[in-house]
Symmetry: C2
């Protein structure tokens, strides 16, 4: 009987719940770094549940290739880009972004835009190579995929889905200024209480902050473009054989899986086809390797402090390293420095960890939330400053400027988050919110991907806003019409009154 | 071993999942008719899970009293209202509402408002009787409830929660023109694609429909008041000892459990503290009583048609009854007429049912969606016309005017929904959407009530909009400030240019 139970449970876990009873086929448009790490968690779960997952990869790829043991299938697509071109471009992106001064908004975002365009141009080249490769497209067509999964920050997935005539699902962390969410996803984010992403504001804004937030919003809504839209729109129109835009194509997404949740993000309006699945990559800590376990245990009552700068920064200057080292030497906790490998952080953040010194990447912060660890943030670039600002507003982190902080600053910050019980309390509160959801984030993400495969879409969750032009959406035509009506009525009444007055005057004169 | 399994499962079902490990105490502000039927499903489930549920009831109550077998506790509150006063008022409400001509928008809603005010005045009297009853309030205080559950359409629950200093959760079907959702809940419902409730529009509106929808919205936003707000606001200010309004008090709700879902409602934006739990009262059909089962089976291939006018209408005129009877006599299906008792409908709507003739109450429509039965709608009043309009737009119903339809109209409508496979297909599509959710509606409703009890609220889901005034919310102060800045700059530049021009002219003249 015990055997029977086991096999029944196994059956439940492996069945894919598609209407046909068979498993589905998922096509993945790739993405990089922490984005990829996060999406891979979903893909691994899909494979676990019996689905077939195929990732389109650059031939000079940074993705785990066929030599890398993975249950995912990789379809290597020939491209004119060389490996060096690609890696140089990515390395440049990281370097340039970290070098942009953060305290100047306009120059900052002008440079961010320029960088994203350069990166986007490379993606577009690869996208063109794939979409115009007749042999490859025929092969993909014949594979009869059920759904395309893509990160909305790297366009092309939606184009392939349109060409292959299959539904697509997005995963997205965020886009600068929420441009993609708003123009592609139709999100409603009122500037009065939703701080523009990367503004570092919380949802409790004073008057001048709301003024700044409004200016940021206007800038992002009307001037900022995440990619060179003219080129992209032209490219999509060409391949789809009708005048269209990237955002119009993106708006066809069935589901948006946003890698965020209300333990991290400030609450804001959402749409029925948007699921907040932040922290889906977090898992209970596995037993540590023996050497690490001994290290953690040897820390005794004082516990340990974990230090990590994430997957994109591989080294720091000697001067900065010395500042960090001398601060860490002063605290009673043992310190673990993790370079580059997030996976290790996952396992170390345990009950023994007293604080987490982090660059503020979203994945790392979610690990800290998951385990309820207070943070010292040393954000470097991209969304990291904003992420740390969120944790600071929620009372679970102290923020420092990595490039200018002194050894004493770091020491004091560590002392604060370790010794002031409020930080631990707030971190634990976020943790309890994170763990207390009706369905775990990863299961929800997988559920909606499977839903789209089962029902060939999720049209019942799509707001009709997607079918409106921007002036219809904002009711500008209706308001214009109503104002015209009111003006006409006022005009007619005035005219009549004038006539009556004139008539009365003439009559009077005649008398 | 089998025994062990059973007891383990039992334990899971009975444990309340509160942080203390103990079960919670729920205080319920009552509501009427189908609203009560729906909320009672949640209450029964809470009791099933081990929580203690206390319903505040009028002494001359229409609620099941202590004599009525129920696991709910009823706290009978003395009130100055007599049973006759109450029942008369309700009967009048139903009668008057059904008599208002539906084709005239303005007179219709003026009368709806008047009716709601009369009903609201009665609720306020009862609310005053409870809140000023020191002995009762002391008893409630001492009972240490964890949460108040109320229907947002019947105010007072939020006042009691404030007085008792405990969090509260709303259940709500809808309010006319979404006034409560917007002013109390901060819902965002853009008039360009969200039809105003009771407008009978779908989300696919043409230009003139959008114009009408905008006018409706302006009317509801600025003129319509679901209750006599002046009296209510004064009453709340008095009892809370500070100047406040009903809507301000309502805005403190932790969670809004909306009795709707995207199988019924057109998708629109929502907030993180809003859960759509429509159809939570639906359950798989139980075996029918023998007499009924024989009736259903005897229908053979043709199946049956179920006819119900809901819980509020207890009889129809002889003339109308004849029209219905003569249409039903012509169809090959057997017919079941259910007067007054929704519960029976639940059980009859089965695979043998070919069509459901319904007045369009939300509960009945959800039964039809749950079982995938196409409908003939004969809406009478309140939201029924709008509900049927929704089902019609989704291709699962044909709509008729009950008061003017002929026998042939009904016969043709029945023939259409029974013989045109598209209606059955669409009804089944809605059914499959309804059943394919990560968590069942009832479980989600109970989860969030328990969440509020566990965490003493759900503040992390509250948008900061609740803390803003209406002009801050719409950024009017910010826009005003920015326009003033722009005007000042333009003024200064113009002034400077003018000075320069003047100077140049003077110089020229001098020469």
């Amino acid at each position: 009987m015990s055997m029977k139970w086991t096999s029944a449970l196994l059956l439940i876990q492996l069945s894919c719940y598609l209407s046909s009873g068979s498993c589905g086929k998922v096509l993945v448009w790739p993405t990089e770094f922490s984005h990829w790490m996060n999406i891979k968690t979903i893909l691994d779960e899909l494979v676990q549940r019996g689905h077939e997952v195929t990732v389109l990869a650059y031939s000079p790829s940074i993705l785990p290739g066929p030599n890398n043991p993975s249950a995912l299938k990789f379809e290597i697509c020939p491209t004119s880009l060389t490996e060096t071109e690609f890696e140089d471009s990515v390395a440049q992106l990281v370097k340039r972004w970290s070098d942009i001064p953060k305290d100047t908004f306009w120059p900052h975002f002008l440079q961010v835009q320029e960088m994203m365009w350069t990166y986007g141009d490379m993606i577009r080249q690869f996208c063109k190579d794939v979409a115009s490769n007749k042999k490859l497209m025929k092969k993909l067509q014949e594979s009869r995929f059920d759904v395309v999964l893509a990160d909305a920050i790297s366009p092309c997935g939606e184009l392939l889905a349109e060409l292959l005539k299959i539904p697509f699902v997005y995963s997205l962390r965020f886009s600068p200024g929420y441009t993609i969410e708003k123009h592609g996803g139709g999100f409603l984010l009122p500037p009065s209480y939703v701080p523009v992403v990367m503004s570092e504001f919380s949802d409790q804004m004073g008057f001048m902050e709301r003024v700044k937030n409004m200016i940021y919003m206007i800038y992002f809504d009307f001037w900022f473009q995440p990619w060179d839209m003219k080129k992209w729109d032209q490219f999509y129109s060409e391949f789809l054989g009708r005048p269209t835009t990237v955002f119009e194509t993106m708006a066809k997404a069935e589901i948006w899986l946003i890698r965020n949740y209300w333990d991290f993000q400030f609450p804001h309006p959402l749409l029925p086809n948007v699921e907040f699945v932040g922290g889906l990559h977090c898992k209970p800590a596995k037993p540590l390797p023996k050497e690490m376990e001994e290290f953690v245990q040897s820390s005794g009552e004082n516990g340990i402090v974990v230090f990590s700068l994430g997957s994109m920064v591989s080294n720091m200057s000697e001067e900065r390293a010395n500042v960090v080292a001398s601060a860490l030497a002063k605290i009673p906790q043992k310190v673990r420095y993790n370079q580059n490998i997030l996976i290790t952080v996952v396992n170390i953040l345990s009950s023994k960890t007293r604080a987490f010194i982090t660059h503020g990447g979203a994945n790392g912060i979610y690990e800290a939330i998951y385990h309820g660890i207070p943070m010292v943030g040393v954000p470097l670039f991209a969304d990291q400053l904003d992420n740390i600002a969120h944790m600071k507003a929620k009372g679970a982190a102290v923020s420092l400027d990595f490039n200018t902080m002194s050894s004493t600053d770091l020491f004091n910050a560590l002392k604060t988050v370790i010794n002031d019980p409020l930080y631990k309390e707030n971190a634990m509160k976020l943790s309890s919110i994170h763990h207390d959801q009706p369905v775990k984030p990863l299961d929800r993400a997988v559920f909606w991907i499977e839903f789209v495969m089962r029902h060939k879409g999720a049209k019942h969750l799509r707001v009709a806003a997607y079918d409106l032009t921007w002036f219809q959406y904002h009711s500008l035509d209706v308001i214009g019409f109503l104002l015209a009506c009111v003006a006409t009525v006022i005009f007619i009444i005035t005219k009549c009154l004038f006539c009556v007055w004139k008539f009365v005057r003439t009559e009077k004169k005649r008398k």
